[in-house]
Amino acid sequence: MHPLWPQVKAFQPQLWRAVCGYELNPAVREELLQEVLLAIWESLPRLHEADRLLPFVLRIAHNLGASHVRAETRMATPVPFDDALHDVADPATAEACARTQWLFEALATLPLKLRQVLMLQLEGFDYQEIADMLGISPENVGVRLHRARDRLKSLSKEEGIQ
């Protein structure tokens, strides 16, 4: 096992978010995450700077996510939620969950070019780092981010998300 593998496990939330940005179906998300982890496992010997591990693993996740073809799997039929039978989360948590769900559904409507830069910025990378990861100029990152935010903003207004 590669010595950096335990650190990769620590980056699982970031990898999971990247995967969720490309796939909405929960079952296919897990499959894609497995594929990403396998690719990371096989590529780790190519990483020479250990402190660049997060950009390295996220670059793999975004590359595989972008070329991932949305599988046409049948989604399970949703069962109506019964408040009497289940514990209900407090309203603040429920609202946060709804916002998260809205964000990932809204991301799915963005073109890949805009989606990638926005996802990387939300993960905390700066313009230069995003530019290096995507192979574009920092100015281009700025333009794409601006467009992506505009689209999400107008979507949120249309759907009344605050």
Partner: protein, 187 residues
Amino acid sequence: MSFDDLLKDAWQGQAQAPAQHDLTRRVRRRQMRLRLLRTLEVALTIIAVLVFGQALLSGRVDPAHWLLMPFFLAFLPMAWIFVLRSPRRHAADATGSASTYARLRLAQLRTGLRDLWLARTTAWVLLAYALVVNAGVWVLGGSSWREAGLALLLMAVAAMAVTLWLSRTLRQRWLREYRGVYRIIGG
């Protein structure tokens, strides 16, 4: 709360990855499955080569061998071209920048689509060969040749059906991926 903060909060909210306690074991299992698949492909090829090689070396070449040999001479190389050049996503390719990876992937997918066309063409040619051979053996050959001709025709039809099914499935998937990846660098 500003819109940016709202987005960040919503983004951070998606941190609940599925339980992956046995991550290492699952990755190893997947690796093993891929290796097994490749071993199976190699084993099938070796069996086919041994069957026909032995017939040639032992000098006991019967009608079935004569008729099926040209079929396998075309079918096996085509199957291997298809398997080896199939646009699988390789781990090392994905370590490059998004634009580099997208260009590489487009080239791989183009090759894959060309190979699909080649596979379909080969299957049609093999079917035509089987039909011509059958016409010949039914007019000129004895019962052993006719039986061999029928076996050849069955194999050609099976190969054709599998090729068309595979081609249809893979072509749709690769074209979808091609269009998606093209949008990253194309426009």
